[in-house]
Symmetry: C5
Subunit: 264 residues, 5 copies
């Protein structure tokens, strides 16, 4: 699993707690179950109302996917394609049927299978493009559910604080209670902002980032499969795919290839 | 009907009330008819002024549509298309005229009818694409009317609160009334934010989500109809349409097909 | 004239006044000429500075256009096209020269004229598309001028309030005047928000909505004219244009046509 | 020079001053050099840090351009093209070499020169399109520099006010100074909002508006030059270019032309 | 290195400090380690949680790139291309293999190498376009990481302030401590806004600006390489590439060329 999101969220909560204690505060005073109930309940209600049931059901699967460890590097996929292209040139497309692929990428597998089945190049390209778009679309919905929650949470917090202030201001008879009562009212705002910024919005952004990365990897895979099907030169395919890598990695791979050739 | 929006809205309101009572507040103090009148009246006025009469008239129909239960799953539509494609291959296009379609999808029906009428493939595709765009456009207008209302509502609330504060500050002679008077002034802000976040914005987002889902289903239907008209292989059509499903459902359908073949 | 914008704006102002009186306020206390002068003057200044003179000159014409009553329904235009297509098929394009068109739509008129003049189909389509884009562009500028005003107005209000508070806070010698003085300072914020939300922003949104509707009607007109010029079947033209109507209206028109045929 | 931006900015500042005096304020109390230094310095620093040096260098040239008087009307350019097209039809393209063009539009001049040089139509069109895109791009950068400044200015103002409040709240020993000290702290917010809304944002919007107008004019010029190169009929060229004018101006020009023909 | 970002950031901080001292504040009162810890820690946590580990690792490299000095002017690249085009016309493409290029631009080098290798023009164009898109994409991710940090920072500041206020309001027993305690609470807001506006957001905008400049340069390079490969006339290539320069620089280069010809 990609640990950075957990580290970031837990770290953010710890930092807030340490800062509160550092300034002489008492963490127990920051526990206010009614405010917590309001934020979580109200945000959940407003978010549920904003999406069809079918999309709400998918949100956990989608979130889990965003937390996975990226299982392969772009450069590994490029290497796999160069190897496949070399084999196909030598032994023909049908060789792929019994050749185990090193990496477990569903789009790559489906593409190779369709190629072996003799699918027409344009149809194949269109199918894979649709599949990439569907996957990106589903992740974007997951991201936007969390973003919606992160948008409602602070305003629900303001609702809680205003309700608290209305309550306080309507009962000014006992001025000694004024401070603590206002303090309790502000807890709703505090929770609303914290839940949004330390929890919902980072998760939303993480899913959106993963969606973009997956789409980019998918584009590379489609380019690679189309090129193999066209029977292009492995050397050209490699150059094509290296364009999807950043300069640092592309230079490294070219250097490695040059070194490999020298050895031979 | 898709119950989740009702559940979310009612749940959100209940959560706010429970939290208010939990903190020792009196729900009656949160009833302020003048503030409620201001928010609902002012928001309605500003929203009516923002759209042509013809669009305002459509908003309720459009909202009702967003609340409907999604009547069919993507996988059911794919199955229908595979079955139709098999029949058409065997018996020709005219067979469709007397064949009852399992699902009641207006775009699908119109597409099949146009196909039977012998409409030119490009014209047919263009007509269906226009119809999808029109439907999405109409839903988006409904969504943006509710979003506009949700944007005006909190600012009308601030107008109410500032008017209340101006009234209070101009009459400081009786300091005992100060607290309750300010409390009443804040009710407008409370209602403005609550109406926007628990009512208007969730409905707006729900309609927009439904618009996106409908457009995606429509794309699948157009792809399916075009492929049948082209006389493509049912197996290829299925693979094409499966690209519109998420991986989980696509894998399930492929497994079911494989199982079906084994039985034979 | 489309009365809904006037109704919405006047209604919004009335609602605010009624709510103010309801809460025991005095409407006279809400009249503050200096704050009104600041909001209107400052907003006008900042808005004038934001656009070229030529665009400022057009803003009133553009606003008046948005307030007009929509002069024809989409279904009427579809009927006109079906009738024209039938006539042209029977009597040839030149018949159009002496045939009065039922509806007064400038784009439609120009398109028919160009058709009679024997303009090349591609050139004709391009000309009409450019004209639609120009009209939409001009309306969007009008909308964005009002939106800019609606954006500046509340911040000018805050400038007024801060100036008032600075004045008040610098003269704390007489505490009795404090309340009314702060109250006056807040009037600028009140006016700033009210002018934006009850006046400028609704007008801006109305113009933008009208721009979208006009562009959609224009698209239908271009589709219709191109189809007539191609000499297409009136039945096909009708089906094509019905794709631009929502399902409800399209079904109604198909039913009416079917009824018409039965009578014959 | 287009005087409206200067009028708007100076007018906005005057309106603020008059309103301040009207409410009994003293303009001298609104002069706070330290706050002014903070806003101008801090905004400049943050804005400089946001752009490459090369773009910062261009901002003044770009601003001056936005303040120029629009040197020609769209209808004048259309007339020039009709005249040129008539001449070219009669005397051939080379005639353009010695023919002085009435209006001084760099894109028009370059286009005519390239046409005389015998540039290939596609290459010519591409060159002019690139030049329009470059010019629009440069103006947009200028606009976004001012917009960035207008975004930083109010937040720098809040920084100043919070710093002032921290200072005040840390020294509550002398309550008489409290009011004036808070008043001084608020000056930073006042300046921050005023600089953004009366100065930076209007200039940014003005430049963006001019960029849009220039791009639209450029489109018309490219259309005109391409049509002349194709040797199209002057009457068709006029109709084509009139599509870029709003209906009012287009109708006027058509009327004038009809009148001209009658005289002959 | 491009010094302007450093100058802007350091200058912004200095301006804030000078303004604070000018108004009689004590800089030591503005040092609050707990608030600084909260802002930096909380912002880092929320930002880490928002991106995959692989993207976080690249952010420093990406930031360093944005701070580099722009190594060449557009006009220099145009000159290089004109020279290369002249040589290639005279001596053929293979001449490029041993010809040192004056400027060190990785895309230009790769493009020339691919041209010498005899790559097919369409493939070459596609490869370079992909490489430009990849580079721009990577810079945009870097920019959006800083932007995300700049978005979280002020809200973490508000969390700190609300926590401080809750602490203060819960302990009103000693009114003398009230002022300084609130003052400390506000430090979190101050730091949150300052870190965002003087540090994170300018860096984010700088990276985004550099990404746009690089993409524009890349477009020019692709245009130049494609034109050379097509064997186009150096004079035409120059005119084509000059379209990417602003009018001032383009006019200068044309004047220089005319002068050069006169000398001959």
């Amino acid at each position: 699993m990609d640990p950075i999101t957990i580290v970031g969220i837990v770290g953010g909560i710890l930092v807030c707690m340490i800062a509160a204690v550092w300034e002489g505060g008492n963490l127990l005073h920051l526990m206010e179950p009614s405010a917590f109930f309001l934020i979580v309940g109200g945000t959940t209600g407003a978010t549920l109302a904003s999406f069809p049931l079918s999309q709400i059901k998918e949100v956990m699967a989608c979130t889990k996917w965003a937390f996975r460890k990226q299982p392969y590097e772009l450069s590994t996929i490029v290497e796999v394609f160069v190897e496949l292209a070399t084999l196909v040139r030598r032994e023909g497309l049908l060789m792929l049927e019994n050749h185990p692929v090193k990496i477990d990428h569903p789009l790559l597998k489906r593409g190779l299978q369709l190629m072996v089945d003799g699918t027409d190049p344009n149809t194949l390209k269109e199918m894979l493009a649709t599949q990439i778009a569907t996957a990106e679309h589903d992740l974007r919905i997951g991201s936007s559910i969390w973003q919606t929650a992160g948008g409602f949470s602070p305003t629900i917090g303001i609702i809680g604080t205003v309700m608290g202030l209305v309550h306080v201001l309507g009962n000014l008879s006992n001025p000694d209670d004024l401070g603590p009562a206002i303090s309790v009212a502000f807890m709703a705002t505090l929770y609303g902002i914290a839940v949004a910024n330390i929890f919902c919005l980072p998760i939303s952004k993480k899913i959106a980032s993963v969606a973009k990365v997956d789409a980019q990897v998918g584009e590379l895979v489609v380019e690679g499969i189309t090129s193999i099907q066209m029977g292009e030169n492995p050397r050209i395919i490699e150059e094509k795919l290296l364009s999807y890598l950043d300069e640092h990695h592309a230079t490294m791979m070219r250097a490695r290839r040059a070194a490999g050739k020298d050895k031979k």
